[in-house]
């Protein structure tokens, strides 16, 4: 059956040579090399569930009276967006399940990108020639964050509406262009009648198309460059040793698809997420407390809380304080990440291409830097719940803010040195380069040859 299909294709495209090599393409065996695939599968699940939701959602700020199964809001004047989000949750069969799977898959999509990126960072897989793919990956992370936030903002509930107003304030804070950017992107002063239509186009068309394109490019580059591998017997800078794409790798990959689907479906079934009916519809003069955004917006929200009340006023202009923590800081971090392969090359003074990976412990300072960056973002994420910490620790939020500021400074520093020290200890403890392989020679004796 499949054989006849191969012949059918070859008759028309002359693809026999390609198929032969493609099916036997070598994929190195290491669990961490499969992390990126979680994101491909999460993205496919997001496309499927999102398409279903888009058939029912109405991106409109127009007021309507909600009538539906959720009795507590019956007869309440809400926006079309909020009413349709309620209807698709309660009155569309399987709607709630699909919506919750969609939200969980979005959280896992961004998380998977970060974990995959950490693997690439720590093993040095971002080095030339794969620096080009690292840059595509950083762009993907940024787009995934915008995609997630635009979707989170659509239902016009009290939590997301507040978040959207903060986002608009951040947009307004950008020097020179901020005011115009806010009015043009959202279609007027916040909250505007047009903003859900704008967000909707971005969320269901512009960003998914861009993300899909970038994933295709990411995979095409991976295919062309082939996979990097850890050093080992028989592995060199000029080959890839691994399992064939078909059948070994394909079966493993399908297992990962099933695992991703099972995880998001299980979470979407049993763990409630974003219950917009409990938050209520958005009104500009109401607010929830405590209010925390989706996890990947956490660092920005935390930075907004920890930042100092500094603003710049000069020549009749103002750069308000949100600009520094919410635009400048994330912008600097993303620029740093994007340029990281270049910076790393300059630090190591190494213009060469690499196909053999570093073990994380073998480059202690890089491990230290990775841990420091994670703790830096983690400290800000922690700060995004400063009000909750204040409540449970019975401390004033001012004290918590001061403590969290120090956490953001000291934890990365401590993390750097501790992680580096652990790596050095691990590296020194393992058998050194004097490992040998024994060969039996023609005379029946043994001789030692060093391992590569």
């Amino acid at each position: 059956m499949l054989e006849r299909f191969v012949l059918w294709v070859d008759d028309r495209l002359g693809a026999a040579n390609f198929i032969r090599h493609a099916l036997r393409k070598a994929f190195p065996d290491h669990w961490s090399f499969m992390l990126g695939e979680i994101n491909v599968y999460a993205f496919l699940i997001l496309l499927g569930t999102g398409t279903f939701l888009a058939f029912f959602f109405q991106p409109s700020a127009e007021k309507t009276i909600y009538h539906g199964s959720y009795a507590l809001l019956n007869g309440v004047a809400v926006s079309q967006a909020y009413a349709s989000a309620l209807r698709l949750s309660f009155d569309v069969r399987a709607g709630l399940l699909v919506r919750q799977i969609h939200h969980w898959a979005a959280l896992i999509f961004v998380a998977g990108i970060v974990v995959h990126m950490a693997r690439v960072f720590l093993t040095g897989a971002f080095r030339k020639p794969r620096d080009i793919n690292w840059m595509v990956g950083v762009a993907l992370l940024a787009m995934a964050m915008f995609e997630g936030f635009s979707g989170y903002s659509l239902p016009d509930d009290l939590l997301s509406g507040t978040g959207l107003h903060i986002a608009d304030s951040v947009l307004l804070s950008i020097p020179i262009v901020g005011t115009w950017a806010s009015f043009l992107l959202l279609g007027g002063d916040f909250p505007s009648a047009a903003m859900f239509a704008r967000l909707f186009v971005a969320h269901v068309f512009l960003l998914p198309a861009a993300i899909g394109g970038a994933i295709a490019l990411h995979l095409a580059i991976l295919w062309r460059q082939k996979h990097a591998q850890f050093p080992g017997p028989g592995r060199t800078e000029h080959n890839v040793v691994g399992s064939p794409l078909v059948p070994t790798y394909a079966v493993k990959s399908l297992a990962l698809l099933a695992a991703t689907a099972a995880t998001v479906t299980g979470l979407g079934t049993f763990v409630q997420i974003n219950p917009i009916w409990l938050f209520g519809p958005y009104h500009a003069w109401q607010v929830l407390t405590p209010a925390q955004p989706d996890w990947y917006i956490g660092p920005i929200d935390g930075a907004l809380r920890l930042s100092f009340p500094w603003s710049l006023r000069f020549w009749g202009h103002l750069i308000p304080s949100p600009f520094f923590p919410a635009v400048l800081l994330p912008g600097a971090i993303f620029t740093f990440l994007f340029l990281w392969p270049v910076i790393d090359r300059m630090i190591r003074r190494d213009p060469e291409s690499h196909h053999l990976l570093d073990r994380a412990r073998d480059v202690p300072w890089r491990m230290g830097l990775g841990v420091a960056l994670t703790l830096f973002a983690g400290g800000f994420t922690l700060a995004a719940s400063s009000d909750v910490q204040a409540r449970y620790l019975h401390l004033s939020v001012v004290t918590i803010t001061v403590v969290d500021r120090w956490v953001c400074v000291l934890a990365p520093l401590a993390g750097f040195f501790i992680a580096r020290a652990i790596c050095i200890a691990l590296r020194d403890a393992q058998p050194g380069p004097n490992r040998v392989r024994l060969f039996r020679n023609a005379n029946g004796g043994f001789e030692e040859r060093p391992l590569p």
Binding site: K25, A94, L97, H165, I166, S169, V170, L172, S173, I174, P175, I176, V177, G178, T179, S182, F183, L184, L185, L186, G187, G188, D189, P191, E237, H238, N239, V240, V241, G242, S243, T248, V251, A255, A258, A259, T265, G266, T269, F270, H283, A284, W285, V287, T289, L304, R305, S307, F308, G316, H317, L318, I319, P320, S321, P325, S353, V397, V398, T401
Partner: protein, 266 residues
């Protein structure tokens, strides 16, 4: 059939069971938990089957691919550069034409960007003012005006100007201190000067307003001055008075722009 094959068969049976379960759950009313559970079971079945397949039925084999150097052979690179030069030549031959071409692309590109301007109104003075004017009554969310004596000491109420109930930019908080002019009434913009959240929490004990989003704290004894938190400007204060009938009215708009800062607000 080996024990391994039988195990995989069982997991595929689980997947089939899950699929059937979903069909039944969807058809019989569509209960969220039964649909989700059966779908999860189906995917777990597939997961176990794939794991079993990978472990027991797929032969363990290693293949080796060559990695060729990505920089091509020098002759090939030279040929590519040569082709590039050949391609460039007709454009570089006349500097004038090249410059005109770039200029034309720039002008036309700029022209094609202009429709972006249609996406929204000009900001103009929108951010500088609210709907409060001299003599406008302060109305609660439900439209009732605020009369002298309506507000207890230590309590707050959200008000809007007449004709603009629900207007985000005009929302204001009226609160009552134990002492002071106008029976201790004061009115502040409810839009946080940091990131635009409603400054919704009033602590009567300390006479402070707290924004629940990023915890900026404002002192109502000191004209809305920032006590702590990331806000960099005080809460604008609305000038108010009682009219002859005892209703609370505004004496004009806020003296400064309300809400988050922006470039033109220098």
């Amino acid at each position: 059939m080996s024990i391994q094959e039988r195990s995989i068969a069982a997991t595929l049976g689980l997947a089939i069971l899950g699929g059937l379960g979903f069909i039944v759950a969807y058809t019989c009313g569509g209960d969220h938990r039964w649909m989700g559970l059966s779908a999860t079971v189906a995917f777990v079945g597939f997961l176990l089957a794939a794991l079993g397949w990978a472990r027991w039925l797929v032969p363990r084999e290693q293949v080796v691919d060559e990695i060729v150097s990505f920089a091509s052979e020098n002759a090939e690179r030279e040929a590519a550069l040569h082709a590039t030069r050949q391609g460039e030549m007709p454009f570089l031959r006349s500097a004038l034409l090249t410059r005109l071409l770039l200029g034309a692309l720039g002008v036309v590109g700029l022209a094609m960007l202009l429709p972006i301007r249609s996406l929204g109104p000009a900001p103009g003075r929108t951010l500088f003012s609210t709907r409060w004017r001299l003599g406008l009554r302060a109305l609660r969310e439900d439209g009732r005006p605020l009369k002298r004596g309506d507000l207890e000491v230590g309590s707050v109420v959200t008000v809007f100007p007449e004709g603009a109930i629900g207007d985000a930019r005009s929302q204001a908080l009226v609160l009552r201190l134990p002492d002071g002019k106008l029976d201790g009434l004061q009115a502040y913009s409810k839009v946080c000067t940091h990131a635009g959240c409603p400054v919704a929490l009033y602590r009567a004990a300390t006479e402070q307003l707290l924004c629940p989003c990023h915890q900026s704290l404002f002192d109502v004894r000191a004209d809305g001055r920032v006590v702590s938190g990331p806000a960099d400007r005080p809460l604008p204060r609305l000038p108010i008075a009682f009219d002859t009938n005892g209703f609370l009215i505004a004496l004009g708009d806020f003296p400064v722009p309300v809400g988050p800062g922006f470039w033109q607000d220098g």
